[in-house]
Amino acid sequence: MGEKQNDVFSVNLDKYNFRDTEKYVYKTSKGLSKEVVEEISRQKDEPKWMLDIRLKAFEIFLKKPTPTWGGDLSSLDYDSYTYYIKPSDKKSQKWEEIPENIKKTFDRLGVPEAERKFLAGLGAQYESEMVYHSIREDLAKKGVIFLDTESGLKEYPELFREYFTKLVPIEDNKFAALNTACWSGGSFIYVPKGVVIDIPLQAYFRINSEKMGQFERTIIIADEGAKLHYIEGCTAPQYSTLSLHTGVIEIFVRKNAKVRYTTIQNWAHNIYNLVTQRSIVEEGGSMEWVDGNLGSKLTMKYPSIYLMGNNSKGKILSIAFATHGQHQDAGGKIIHKGKNTASTIVSKSISRLSGRSSYRGLVKILKGATGIKSSVKCDALMLDEESRSDTYPTMQVEEEDAIVSHEATVGKISDDVIHYLMSRGIKESDAQAMVVMGFIEQFSKELPMEYAVELNRLIQLEMEGSVG
């Protein structure tokens, strides 16, 4: 049963499953060592303070044990990965200047077309380095910075240093340390005071080399009253051996600013996806994580929001889709420090073919944070008996007047519903996909049209294998 479905799956996802002949300017040897870290820094021509941070992070990475509280990381072999690959020696502003093989990859993903149609700016990450970066002129005129992280460091060293590792300290966790030691790529975004960007900024990421870790580092700063929607989409080719993705994202939401970070990740089924996403919100600000997790072998990802300022708001909306051989361990974390702050977590998970999904969440209301409202809702949909769904919610409330709610449901697709849809002519697999899409509608309606369509298609492809 499982094999047939995998066949269908790999055939249909062919579009994402291609691979270019490797053609690189520079590639470090396998495994991580002090020398490799130094080499990464040298290749990037970094200031000494950055090298020092990398080396310190490397030490911390070595000391920290691999966490055991979440998914199974026991077969993760840190020495089997290549930690840095530089695909091309120059960055391009124009599509025409991009090397042919890289262009081909993006053409298949439809990136330039998408950009022409929908996007305000785009950073396309091929391997570890941004090779293509563009931003619409009007945004540049307003003082918006949208660069790959390396260029951010070079062009705005002071601004960069002010924020780098300030929200996710090196010591935070083993993977944050790993990322800090060998980070490469990601986006550096600064939106000045009062600047409102109406259309989403978007970046695509790809891993193309077997056993290559990807360690993007993204820093987003929305200054007072600024407004920004950032979208990150991920697709990756499938390989039989393991791969690793360990990103760190730090988002600073200043007074009355508003940031939404949307991501749909569809990793190949052999990837460990271990991401630290954190944001801090000042008075009257608002932060939203819209987070979709498909694919990967194991995802551990808990976007977090620190509501520091009074009257600030946080929202985490996430879905996870776990199929055969996958564990989606996802959730969210909200810390209320400011008074009259409000938070919402909505988590939806779908498991099928013995896939496993877990919700792991924390809502913490600190002493002094009065007038808090928080609601958590997690719904799990299981498509067969073999699948698994767990919920690990934690609430720590230190103020009595807090209004906190938690609601959890676990359900299956009803035969009556499938029959009803089929009785109008809809195929069984389409009917199931329709119910699944309905289940996550609260999530998908928040996505820009082309993303919702893509998500719909991915789920439809997944479901085609599920009806025997």
């Binding site: 009803s414 035969d415 009556d416 519903v417 029959h419 009803y420 849809l421 089929m422 009785s423 109008r424 002519g425 809809i426 195929k427 069984e428 389409d430 009917a431 329709m434 119910v435 899409m437 309905g438 289940f439 996550i440 509608e441 609260q442």
Partner: protein, 260 residues
Amino acid sequence: MNALTIKSLKSSVEEKVILNGVDLELPEGEIHIIMGPNGSGKSTLANTLMGHPKYKNIEGEALLFGEDLLKMKVDERARKGLFLAFQYPVEVEGVSMGHFLYSAVSSRNENGNNKDPKRIIQFRNSLKDNLSSLELSSDFISRSLNVGASGGEKKRLEVAQIMTLKPKVILLDEIDSGLDIDSSKLAARAIKDMRKEKISALIITHYPRIIDYLEPEKVHIMAYGKIICSRGIELAFDLEKKGYDWILKEFNSENGDING
């Protein structure tokens, strides 16, 4: 040609035999009424014909325009022109009626360009018209399917689906239950209009009221999992006046008391 030919059809629900050899012919373009006491198997007949997985066919056959209906998957039956208006339509959270019905229309037209915006707009407009002819708000198009609709609205939404999908043979399972007089009139008028396109219908009902509007060709009485009597429409009015007892007695004296 017969739209439906049902011969010695037997089926069970959860191991319990409910249909006990149903014979019925519905010629194309005719409307037949099925009446009968509660528990006589009327809904089971409709659900067996549509192919609900809970209803297991044991024996006999059912043909849709001469084709073996019982061998087809549920969705195939629908694409061949069968439609069941459910007694209790289900609610589907997050799936809009518009999206659902357009998918259903597209499933009948797999090679056509279903993504053509012109087609979609055309579809939407005609769905709007259909809803408004049933005095239903066009908000239903974007709302989750049947969610939050009243009993009467759900029944009329089923009729709107019929108007939109244009099936050839419709099974109406108590479409008039829970509808007030005005709403039943609207529903009946919609179905009557479809007679022009030679629609065939089996209508399960307790109320002869709908008969007034529809001018059906025949009334079948169902009891004990069988059709025990088929006559002209005057039978329906007799039943309304006199109840079912007399006809059950008549049947039992002719056939031996099968009810034990």
